[in-house]
Symmetry: C2
Subunit: 348 residues, 2 copies
């Protein structure tokens, strides 16, 4: 298929599953009492989001169980060894964890906006935002505990979910600590990205395999698929910030550079002797010109830093797609390959 047809197909697949996931969120995370707490907990979930992680989870389930994403029975996936398991609940649990991390990260980074609306601590207050995140945290485990099927598999899924959450906290802690480091290496940065972002993709892809009683080999391959494509996604984010025109990005191109945000690209350039801090020294997002950004990008291109990051994202994506060889050959496994491509090709 052409790039365009592939993207159309994956967008349709994401859109179809997003609707199903949104319906399931309303059922699995109802507006309980105290209402203000649950409103705050659901605020970011209701504000939107592509549901990429739940989509990945559902596609792994569809590929392994060979079922289609439609109808009322979508929640009951047949396991390899007989019985049924509610993979939609597992997908919701992953999205609920993602939402908890966004709420707490926004407090730590003092970010005002999220998904086009106020961050929870802005819309409510910091105490409510802390508690909303904490509530989503335990709700995610409650939801995962009730997927049905073999208790041993559910326990393993919860073990994976909890160790993933620990890694996310470690990654966020490193991210905060890195702000005051001037000797950071690309390897350290990649380790941080893996923990902070990629492991939740890994869990999203691996947990359905665990719950469906798949072999360890399949579980491990799905985890690697998720981690690698999740890492590629983050790295490509840094590339796109420098290479996509501002009007397509929906924000100033090069804003990471203007705001002195360290990325894989700047860390590589430093190693090549580039004075990264001097690239856009006097600029702000409001005052910087396209010509200044072009000049900065040229310097980064000249030492191969942009290619370095782009190639790493492409390599990780190729690796992640190879992991899919353990899956049956069906539409869902094809879509997982498309999804990996989409993660590094998308606009903003």
């Amino acid at each position: 298929m052409t790039q365009n047809a592939t993207e159309k197909r994956v967008l349709a697949a994401i859109g179809q599953r997003r609707e199903l996931v949104n319906d399931a969120i309303d059922i699995d995370l109802p507006l309980a009492e105290p209402e203000r707490l649950y409103e705050a907990s659901r605020y970011i979930l209701e504000a939107g989001g592509k549901r990429l992680r739940p989509t990945a989870a559902l596609l792994v389930g569809e590929a392994l169980a060979d079922v289609e994403a439609s109808g009322a029975d979508y929640r009951a996936f047949p396991t390899v060894t007989g019985g049924e398991v509610d993979l939609m609940a597992a997908a919701v649990s992953i999205e609920v964890i993602q939402s908890f991390t966004l709420i707490h990260d926004d407090i730590m980074d003092d970010d005002d906006l999220r998904r086009g609306v106020q961050s929870v601590h802005n819309e409510y207050d910091t105490s409510t935002a802390i508690l909303a995140g904490d509530t989503l945290y335990s709700k995610a485990f409650e939801i995962m505990a009730d997927v049905g099927g073999n208790p041993e598999n559910t326990l393993e899924a919860m073990r994976l979910l909890s160790s993933t959450c620990t890694k996310i906290c470690e990654g966020q802690s490193l991210d905060v600590a890195f702000e005051s480091r001037d000797d950071l290496t690309p390897e350290e940065y990649l380790d941080m990205v893996e923990r902070k972002t990629a492991v939740l993709y890994g869990a999203a892809a691996a947990i359905p395999a665990v719950l469906l009683d798949a072999d360890d080999e399949v579980v491990d391959a799905m985890y690697s698929y998720g981690v690698e494509s999740g890492k590629a996604f983050q790295i490509q984010d840094d590339v796109l910030d420098l290479t996509v025109p501002s009007e397509d990005l929906g924000k100033q191109r090069g804003s990471d550079l203007v705001e002195n945000k360290e990325t894989l690209i700047t860390l590589h350039a430093r190693q090549q002797g580039v004075d990264v801090d001097g690239l856009l020294d006097e600029s702000t997002v409001e005052t910087v010109t396209e010509a200044e950004i072009d000049a900065a990008v040229s310097k980064l291109e000249a030492v191969g830093s942009i290619d370095y990051a782009r190639e790493m994202a492409e390599e990780l994506t190729a690796q992640s797609k190879d992991r899919l060889d353990v899956l049956p050959d069906n539409e869902a496994s094809d879509l997982l390959a498309d999804l990996a491509d989409y993660l590094i090709s998308r606009g903003y």
Copy 2:
């Protein structure tokens, strides 16, 4: 036994298990990397604490499995249906959850001190404190996932742990919301206390019964034992604040009243028509005199509010001790009764 001998016995039992719990915390929650995150996560745990919830958990385990608190094999409790389960890990998990709630509550209440040291957000910073709490949260689930034994029981324990955490968040949310309410009833207050504090005692007592494969009747009785004695503990706290001399309390007697903290006592008094807000209107903790507090306490006594709270604490304690009838008659079950008494008799 006399009151004094009982207290001596229960303090010795708590002290003995505290040492074992502290050793287990060091093993189950090691100082990992990033070190600053794990230091912050362990900071409140290392600052002390009586380990009352783990002690209750271990005593339920000892009572049901008929084992003694000693030796290297203490971690391997025999289950009713054969096999072994690490109840010490379950006890540590409960304490780790307790510690997470303290760290986040201190941020929300902007409390400077905890267990005689700085609160985590004061000693480190708010971001680190949020993350430290989040890390303990997932660590608690990781630790609980690895207790061994029957996976169905472990899953049930994790289900109970997660629903308990949700209730704790709800309780804390109510507590914050109640600060701006002037029409609070004693029933609403008791509901808040149950969720915010007592359910974790319930989980601490019930989870060992779940893990040891005990009958539902025993599990339910242990949960009620924990919730009722935990509620009694909180109610008695409010009584002691008014009735124990300042030198024994280690802080100004009546400080709740001076600081306009609503308690079961003040809510009862309001229903009796007492102008609670006028009791110590102009005072601060620094300026209030013993005579002023005596006068306020007299007014609360005159309408029966202190007796109301004291009797409720005693009734709940008596109820909680009746729950222990389902346990075998051994030293550990006797100690659980003593523990319930201790919770409402202790000094500060």
